[in-house]
Symmetry: C2
Subunit: 346 residues, 2 copies
């Protein structure tokens, strides 16, 4: 069944995954459509964003954010249309962005959602990608922690994903050499042709390390970390002195159920940070940089309107298919920003 | 034999250590005393500094600085007296600081040594400790990378060493809670009584981790890393969100001949950096902060003259005993800044 005007479908967390999530970890429920109280808006979800951080919310391991509870609606950002407004800033038909979760309808306080700017409302799903959280994540991590200088080499994985593709494009706008990493020849070709990377290496290649080295003849000055795992292993020996490593995610580890076998390379990393004088720094985008969102929105809006920003979306139709889309995302099966089209955008 | 005015004793690197250095890795040689050419000064070494970084120079593994070559004089900073000057800025009897190595006499270009300020010349070995490189290392790493705020908790190991003791004292001057770690009850007591640490934990205690946790009831905001190993392991779970980790050294690893057994905790560290939004950054003091030495010299000089800085030296007599003193330093057997009194200070 698809979105209707009589039922609110919700995907709730049925159980916590051990390792990779499976369809059994989710449950589709049907509930009445809620009503907005004074100061609230009733929203109909149109595009739901799927992002790697959601794997963390499915676990109850300590993290920077509280987990989704069992039987609770899965969390997630989405763009919605206002169905009914009891808040003076919104009216029926407005496009808004909010953390409304995996469901057809939601009721939100008016001050917890934001209306989309005109240039975004023309393509509302971009509020979930390059013009939203992933773009902001790329922008702040690369520029504030990575601090790329003209002529430096910037490396990023998931080069056709929403974060990686923006890191590459911003690196090029800043005069850097941008080297991407992606899974498969098709994605690598796309990264070169559409996102302007100077090189893109297939991490599935047998000689991945050698290819990466060849693509970085002057070493690596900024490694934007979003995957971890074997990509980080290949990057380590190529890092230049005083290289910066913004740590935005380690997707390769999210489904891990334990630590890899030894030897223990933790001391090796600490020694490398010392000898090469690396700066390695994690960040959680809205917690650390929320106050700089207006700067991002202005700059990215300018670049976007000037035609300097390309993007690719990987759209799945139907809320009921969101679990499989998230499972695929965590395995790198997506090709572009993963968005679920939950309902009609008219 | 001791320092004479007829022979230049030199300690050269005889072989590279496998694991911990031994006396066999050094060789004492006797050579004629060299002569200064125009623009140079002939120096008599009085105090030789021994520091953990010297272990790195004995190895030919890739590092930030070139290794000492086999049969070459061991490198090291020292304070010396000018014996003969052919440079206009120096005259016989001046106290100078320079990288003159493990030997009785050296010839240096005048622009490669610096005259000691008056308040240091009264206690010249301090130019090798709190008023020199180790003090500078503590100062810049703590203040520039650690950025400690009043009320925050700063943790540092080797709390009675020249770097750790200064980190603790500067942390207190900045209004922080200072928690030290040292080897043995005597050092811990000294850290409390002489350096003003709020707490100091014996890393040899069976319940070291529990004691450290109890000493940091509000978690750790700045961990000044100079040892690595089990201290870092105990610190990791106590780190607060947005904690800073200046990495100045990992002495516990310097004698390692391979990586420890698994599991491989490198991914765990990367995950921790992400979730806790840590900033972990290595630095090499003169390479990264040489331009800020005047600021340090002024500020530390003020604190020192105001009686706000305590120090402890661990002095070994005789150049011939330098190898054993370095071996002990790497095992944590020293109690205070390790200085070798090579010759008479008259």
């Amino acid at each position: 069944m698809s979105q209707s005007n009589s039922v609110n479908r919700q995907l709730v967390l049925a159980s916590r995954p051990q390792g990779a999530p499976t369809a059994d970890n989710f449950r589709l429920e049907q509930h009445p459509i809620p009503e907005a109280a004074e100061g609230e808006v009733l929203l109909r979800t149109v595009y739901l964003s799927l992002d790697p951080y959601m794997r963390g919310r499915m676990s109850d391991a300590p993290s920077y954010a509280a987990p989704v509870q069992i039987n609770e609606v899965m969390t997630g950002g989405a763009v919605s249309k206002v169905v009914a407004s009891r808040h003076p800033n919104f009216q029926e038909g407005d496009w808004v962005l909010g953390t409304t979760g995996w469901q057809d309808y939601s009721v939100m306080p008016g001050d917890k959602v934001q209306k989309l700017a005109d240039h975004i409302a023309n393509h509302p799903s971009l509020a979930l990608g390059v013009l939203g959280m992933p773009g902001f994540t790329a922008y702040m991590g690369l520029l504030d922690i990575g601090n790329p200088q003209p002529g430096e080499t910037v490396v990023v994985a998931a080069a056709t994903g929403p974060v990686g593709s923006m890191v590459g494009q911003i690196a090029k706008l800043k005069g850097c050499r941008a080297v991407g990493i992606a899974g498969g020849e098709e994605k690598c070709r796309y990264a070169l042709e559409q996102f302007g990377f100077d090189a893109c290496i297939d991490h599935r290649a047998d000689d991945f390390e050698a290819q990466l080295k060849a693509a970085c003849p002057d070493g690596i000055d900024v490694y934007y970390e979003n995957v971890g795992g074997k990509v980080f292993d290949a990057v380590m020996p190529l890092l230049n002195s005083k290289a910066r490593i913004p740590v935005c995610g380690v997707v390769a580890q999210y489904n891990a159920t334990g630590l890899p076998d030894g030897p223990d390379r933790l001391p090796q990393l600490a020694g490398l940070i010392l000898r090469k004088r690396l700066r390695m720094q994690g960040f959680i985008i809205f917690d650390d940089y929320g106050h700089r969102y207006p700067e991002f929105a202005t700059q990215m809006g300018e670049w976007f309107k000037a035609g300097k920003i390309n993007f690719r979306e990987d759209i799945t139709d139907g809320l009921e298919n969101a679990p499989q889309a998230l499972i695929g995302l965590l395995e790198g099966k997506n090709f572009g920003k993963v968005v679920v089209r939950v309902g009609d955008d008219a």
